[in-house]
């Protein structure tokens, strides 16, 4: 099991030595001796908890805390202020800036260990809850919230260089009939197998497959040109047909098939990420109208996408 990583920030080396001696047996400990270095190390190491001195030359602990809480990646890292100051005003200021706790030096080893353990436990539980909130319980893929968050992140990232973003939406053909014929347990098994096949098709680390809802799935494919995204969609259809899940109530094939809509556009800051979903959904309906078990796609320019 991974040992929690704790960042100690203090301009006094002796204070770092004292605190690390208390924590080193049960944690990975790294350190920084200035506010500037603390921010660098925090960004590089993504610690599970930060013990932060208030009074330091240059950027003080309050400013470090302020910058940590303004950073989307680091905002959830618990910060405990460690300082010789004992006045209530300083304590309130630290807590108002987002620190989770406050300990005064000299630190009592038993108290520090207990507080660190409690805050690490709480962070672990928060992280697990956050993960559950974006995970589809049946398939283990991301859920709709995951899709929306990731789509917004990728669209913003790619907009800086006007790079391509493709979205595929897929629908299991005649799934209601499948459920009616084989029962919900088999329906769940079918969705789980389709999800696994879809996930296996995501070759790049930044490609994401999610369960969009019911029998609908979606893929976010940053950096793929339209024809590459179309090819990806076709390969997904082939993979799912190859599963050979019997579906005698389908009008198309004796096994489970899917239909896919693909939308590709260059990212622009002024185009809402949701437009890709709307566009892919339209292509999905076009593919359904064309008889299902097929792919329909379109490359959109920024104006066409924004007008959807």
């Amino acid at each position: 099991m991974r040992r929690p990583n704790i960042l100690i920030v203090d301009d006094e080396v002796s204070n770092i030595e004292i605190i690390s001696a208390i924590l080193e047996d049960d944690h990975e400990v790294c350190f920084a001796t200035s506010g500037e270095e603390a921010l660098q190390v925090a960004r590089a190491e993504l610690p599970d908890l930060i013990l932060l001195d208030v009074l330091m030359p240059g950027i003080d602990g309050y400013e470090v805390c302020r910058q940590l809480k303004a950073d989307a990646v680091l905002a959830d890292v618990p910060v405990i202020f460690t300082t010789a100051l004992g006045d209530q005003e300083a304590e309130v200021k630290g807590l108002e800036l987002g620190a989770i706790d406050y300990v005064t030096k000299p630190v009592a080893p038993v108290i520090l260990r207990a507080r660190v353990r409690n805050h690490l436990d709480m962070k672990r539980m928060r992280d697990e809850l956050a993960e559950l909130a974006v995970t589809d319980a049946l398939t283990g893929l991301g859920n709709r919230r995951c899709l929306e968050t990731r789509l917004a992140q990728e669209a913003a990232r790619l907009a800086a260089r006007g790079e391509m973003l493709s979205v595929i939406i897929l629908d299991v053909d005649f799934f209601k009939r499948f459920n009616d014929l084989y029962g919900h347990a088999e329906g769940d098994r079918c969705l789980t197998m389709v999800a696994a096949a879809l996930n296996r098709a995501m070759h790049r680390s930044n490609h994401l497959a999610v369960r969009y809802g019911g029998e609908e799935f979606a893929c976010i494919l940053p950096g793929l040109a339209h024809e590459e995204a179309m090819e990806m969609a076709r390969s997904i259809l082939t993979r799912i047909q190859a599963l050979g899940i019997p579906h005698s109530a389908s009008d198309i094939a004796p096994h489970v098939t899917v239909t896919a809509g693909v939308a590709t556009a260059a990212c622009r800051a002024e185009v809402e990420p949701q437009r890709w979903i709307v566009a892919a959904d339209r292509q999905l309906y076009a593919a359904k109208a064309a008889g299902r078990n097929t792919v329909s796609g379109r490359f959109y320019d920024a104006v066409a996408l924004a007008e959807l």
Partner: protein
């Protein structure tokens, strides 16, 4: 030595334990370069420690790419 280099870059306090193991393994080799490395680690001056580690690697005839 590569592990120590990595731990120094990551500002990890485990670097000191890894250094102790390295010092024992060297059995007196590179003693002149070991002393400043030990002093830098003791002072938590990791920039100086990284410099001393590079000097130690050179003394021991280890090219930089072999330690990376």
């Amino acid at each position: 030595m590569a592990e120590l280099e990595d731990l120094l870059a990551r500002r990890s306090l485990r670097a000191r334990r890894v250094f102790e193991a390295l010092e024992a393994a060297l059995q007196g080799q590179g003693a002149a370069e070991i002393a400043p490395l030990r002093a830098a680690l003791g002072a938590l001056d990791y920039a100086a420690a990284a410099t001393a580690l590079t000097a130690l690697a050179e003394t021991l005839g280890l090219a930089k790419e072999k330690t990376a």
